[in-house]
Every structure is written in structure tokens, then in C-alpha cells.
Symmetry: C2
Subunit: 111 residues, 2 copies
């Protein structure tokens, strides 16, 4: 059992699960908006272009979400686990970026 199709289904199901929480979805959209402004779906409209182009740090992504830092961290870990985003330490801050390949899969799935 578990052929290629099943693997793909599970990968997409994982993507959808990661985006199934409103707070996580907001963080992801925020990241899409600042990483790839050309894709801007239902962008948050909060801001465009952070200092370091193409990414946002953990704290930024938590802005306006009304959840504590440990929960933010937990959600980002989940987005990373399924491969929707990548992270990279930069001094005190940790930069987050969209994984372009994952976004492409998402974009192409029902299209």
C-alpha cells in the first residue's frame, strides 16, 4: 500500500492541515505578502517590504495575533515541519521565508 498518489495526497493534506488554523494561515499569508509581493492573495494589508527584503522575523509574524510567543513559535514550527516555510537565524532574530516550491504546489493544485 501507500503508492505515489497516496504520498502526494498526504503531502497536500499536511499543507492544508498547516493552513487550517486561522492564526497559522494569517502568518503564512503575511509571509507570502512580504516574501513574494507579486503573489499577494488576500494580503494582510498591514505593511509591505520589511527591512530585510523577502522575509519576516518571528516577532513580526506574531503581530496582531493575540497569542503568546510560545504559541507563535509552535505554529511556525508546524509550518516548517510540513515544508511551507524555511527559517534562518540572523543575529537575535530569526528570519522566516516562504518555501517557493511548496507555494507552487499549492498554487497549482486546483488550477
Amino acid at each position: 500500500m501507500s503508492n505515489i498518489r497516496d504520498k502526494q495526497i498526504e503531502e497536500m493534506a499536511d499543507f492544508f492541515k498547516a493552513l487550517s488554523n486561522p492564526n497559522r494561515l494569517k502568518m503564512f499569508l503575511e509571509l507570502v505578502a512580504c516574501c513574494m509581493p507579486e503573489c499577494v492573495p488576500a494580503a494582510r494589508g498591514i505593511e509591505t517590504k520589511t527591512e530585510t527584503e523577502g522575509c519576516a522575523c518571528v516577532g513580526d509574524l506574531g503581530k496582531g495575533l493575540d497569542i503568546v510567543p510560545s504559541t507563535i513559535s509552535h505554529h511556525l514550527k508546524e509550518l516548517r515541519r510540513v515544508g511551507l516555510i524555511k527559517i534562518q537565524r540572523k543575529g537575535q532574530k530569526i528570519e522566516c521565508r516562504i518555501n517557493p516550491e511548496a507555494l507552487e504546489l499549492l498554487q497549482g493544485y486546483f488550477a
Copy 2:
């Protein structure tokens, strides 16, 4: 609180949650494949065109899923709850169809 944007986010999060279970995703894809063959994403390849065009009954959607009827029913109820599908009794069987508007939202979201 809870502006329009938040409402939209929650609607999409609900869509994603409904598609976050592999079995439910398979059922949905199966339905897309037979309701709107032109959209066929990662279609199941099991069959095309059921007798009554444009829909599949509950039993059909459960084929090959290895879960009992009550669980199938539960999953379909969830897909219906969020508005991804519509149902209609037809004799003993119950026909399921994709809700085209919901599919469009999905298709347009990251595009």
C-alpha cells in the same frame, strides 16, 4: 473585532481543515474528478463519468478508502458543513456534488 478579512480567513481555514484529512481529501478529489472533469487535479484515476453525470453517491466516494460507512458519512458531513459540497437524495442513494463557488474560491486563493 472580526472584520471582513477575518471572516474570509476563517472561511478559507475551514476549507483547508476540511481538506486536511487524507480520506476527506480523496473524497473531494474524486468528486472534483467526476463533477468537473475539466478541473481534474490529481484525479484518482479510478473512473470517470458515473451513471448520473456530474455527481457521485456516498457509497461511491467511500470506495477504496478502508473506512466504515459511518465514518464516510461523518467526513461528507464535514465537507458539506464548510460548503465544499452539496447533497441531494435520489431514491435510496444520496448524490454528492462539488459546490462550484467554493471550488472557485479555492482555485483563486493562491493564484
